[in-house]
């Protein structure tokens, strides 16, 4: 079967690997572009969020390439993303496409439904459960390696001597990891990638600002949606730390107890799960303030409900903890130049603030 999936950040490498190891043909949607977005915008409800539009566009592009099945995730709300799959399916039907969308809901909600759906994918090629588990574990490792490599680029980029070199090397690393089939190959690709990145000539005299990136998961992970904000900031000499990785490897590696701690951090300001990454945005900001970050950038799609609530509350967090927060709402109209200007102003402000604090300290 020709299977496609939502395109998000670097995750397509893993999804492609998993689908191919299960004996299907993976249709990797083209990297989201202006064309994807305009296809999606034309056919989506006006006030649906940017991820909804990009995904619809990228499904349509994958269908053009012959995709027969789309695999995506559901959700139990109250963020709208949990209903995406169903509405996408209706819209595709309305446009006359017969492509089916297979929506995976949380196994904690209905285990049999979850297992049944996996079975419908692995059974046609006679892949057993044990074999599937093996493929799944290898794919997971691959994703962890990609995330670890990516996280390193954000530390190195602000120090690089030749602007743009980190991005070039990172693309080479992704190729290496993409080609690795077995676990042994993956581990050697990992070491090679980390070495390549560490070999980039850097200027250790620089003292980059540290900015935390928070917000809605899709626009945080997908560079097309956030206009490549982490690379832009990196090339402006800022060290960015992203609060969300698909494998959450940072959390495992920093003895940080994930979701429960985030709730504890957010609790004085927001005492309720509001869906999406709303509570995370509050909790992570508190944590960044405690870790001595200079500022936080909140990314959210226009009309994203949880992030609007978070933004309202972040004003207070920012005042209380003395950490500047800049919110960027993204939609199909957002232009790169405008964002660049805002980021430059924000970075200037943070630099001034740091300088002032240092002067006081002396």
């Amino acid at each position: 079967m020709k299977i496609t999936f939502p395109y998000m950040g670097t995750s397509h490498i893993t999804f492609k690997y998993l689908i191919e190891s299960l004996g299907h043909q993976a249709i990797v949607p083209p990297k989201p572009s202006k064309k994807t977005l305009s296809l999606g915008t034309q056919n989506s409800p006006e006030f649906s969020c940017l991820p909804f539009k990009i995904l619809l566009g990228s499904y349509l592009e994958a269908i053009e390439q012959g995709a027969e099945l789309i695999i995506t995730s559901g959700g139990k709300g109250p963020c709208r993303a949990g209903y995406y799959g169903i509405l996408h399916q209706k819209l595709l039907e309305g446009m006359g496409h017969s492509t089916r969308i297979l929506i995976f809901e949380s196994p904690f909600q209905n285990l049999f439904d979850f297992l049944g759906k996996i079975k419908s994918i692995i059974a046609p090629n006679k892949v057993g459960w044990l074999e599937f588990w093996g493929h799944y574990k290898r794919a997971w490792r691959k994703m962890q390696i990609i995330d670890e490599t990516e996280a390193l680029t954000y530390e190195i980029r602000p120090l690089e001597c030749n602007k743009g070199e980190t991005t070039k090397v990172f693309n080479r690393c992704l190729d290496l990891i993409d080609k690795a089939e077995t676990v042994a190959e993956m581990e050697s690709a990992r070491e090679q990638s980390l070495r390549l990145l560490r070999e980039i000539p850097v200027d250790n005299q620089r003292k980059p600002l540290k900015i935390g990136i928070i917000g809605e998961i899709y626009v945080v992970l997908e560079p097309f949606a956030n206009l490549d904000i982490q690379v832009t900031l990196g090339e402006m000499g800022v060290n960015t730390d992203r609060s969300i990785y698909l494998t959450d490897w940072t959390k495992e590696n920093t003895a940080f107890n994930g979701q429960r701690d985030i709730k504890k951090f957010a609790q004085p300001y927001l005492n309720e799960m509001i869906g999406g990454h709303g509570i995370n945005s509050i909790g992570e900001t508190v944590r960044y303030a405690q870790r001595g970050f200079h500022g936080v950038v909140q990314l959210a799609p226009f009309t994203c409900i949880p992030e609007i609530v978070a933004k309202g509350i972040l004003n207070k967090v920012s005042q209380d903890l003395n950490i500047p927060v800049m919110t960027v709402f993204l939609d199909e109209q957002t232009g790169k130049a405008g964002l660049q200007t805002r980021l430059e102003a924000f970075v200037d402000l943070l630099n001034h603030k740091r300088q002032r604090m240092e002067d006081i300290a002396i």
Binding site: Y269, V309, G312
Partner: protein, 328 residues
């Protein structure tokens, strides 16, 4: 002096006011309502609320500010679940509302932000009432009586709306003896006017659409006018419940009006930037188109909505229907 408790005349007020009215009155607590929505209140809210919020949320900030100096407590329960249905809750803006208000407004009297989560069990609402009663220094027996009073008033309110096909505001007028139940006018058409109780029934932000439609000879049907049983019966037509209580009511009412009540037209009223409505609006549109080819119109309201623009649109919509029927 009696304790004064302030209730903002916004959001949940339009759906659950009678319950709390019965409850607080029976407890001998003085209830203070914020003034009816006006330009001034809206401006106050717009100034203080987070810019990207929808107009009902901004308005809510205005109503809270209106109560600021007049009361000892502001009553702002956190709505999580009102009917125990699995995986159904409220829009995130409702879930975070007490926190949002505390973060954006200062110098407020204490806020009663009791969680209303009826998923926890059948007597949960009484427990909630007990906790609120304790805050106000009331004993269990009195709270029980007040709770019963609230429930009977709420039941009467819902019955009035259903049987009389009147709006919640008119039902409250009847309950408070300001008018008698009447909606006997002859109508040429019946329209489903779909939307949240707080967008349709706030006379200011909806530019009193219901009254205007009636003047044009249109019978107005809203989700509240359909019985709970009929609404629940529609649920199975959807592959998955929506996550938001009010949106579920709207979507199910839409299915009911399209499939069973056979209305002549559907008007969906939505607030600019409303997250759930972005989905619901499209789904109603697809439904209306696919099954019966029922004329459908969306009216988006925000803080700049002008009366003239809306009137022109509804007049054109009604005229189009008349043309179709050969009435002009």
């Amino acid at each position: 002096m009696k304790t004064r408790i302030g209730i903002p005349r916004a959001l949940a007020y339009f759906a659950y006011y009678p319950f709390w009215k019965g409850f607080f009155q029976s407890l001998q607590v003085e209830m203070v309502l914020s003034s009816e929505t006006s330009k001034g209140l809206l401006d106050l809210g717009v100034k203080e609320a987070v810019a990207d919020a929808c107009v009902p949320i901004k308005l809510f900030h205005g109503h809270v500010l209106d109560l600021q100096d007049k009361v000892d407590y502001i009553f702002l329960p956190r709505l999580i679940s009102v009917n125990g249905e699995q995986s159904v809750t409220f829009c995130p803006k409702f879930l975070g509302l007490p926190d949002l208000i505390k973060a954006s407004l200062t110098d407020l009297p204490p806020i009663i932000d009791e969680k209303i989560d009826l998923k926890k069990g059948p007597v949960e609402l009484f427990y909630i009432c007990t906790r609120i009663g304790r805050k106000l220094g009331q004993g269990s027996w009195k709270v029980w009586k007040a709770y019963r009073k609230g429930q009977s008033l709420q039941k009467e309110f819902e019955r009035l709306i259903r049987d009389g096909q009147i709006t919640p505001m008119e039902a409250i007028d009847v309950l408070e003896g300001r008018s008698t139940e009447q909606n006997q006018q002859e109508y040429k058409f019946a329209f489903a006017v779909l939307g949240f109780p707080y967008t349709i029934n706030d006379r200011f932000i909806s530019v009193d659409l219901v009254k205007k439609l009636r003047k044009l000879g249109v019978k107005v049907l809203t989700p509240e006018m359909v019985s709970k049983e009929k609404l629940s019966a529609q649920a199975k037509k959807l592959p998955k419940n929506l996550f938001w209580y009010f949106s579920n009511q709207v979507m199910r009412a839409a299915l009911y009006f399209i499939d069973e009540a056979k209305v002549d037209g559907i008007i969906h009223i939505t607030a600019f930037g409303c997250g759930p409505d972005a989905m619901v609006d499209k789904m109603i549109e697809l439904e209306a188109k696919a099954k019966e080819k029922i004329p459908f119109m969306t009216i988006t309201i925000d803080e700049h909505t002008g009366e003239a623009g809306i009137v022109t649109r509804i007049e054109a919509f009604v005229d189009m229907l008349k043309l179709r029927r050969g009435l002009i």
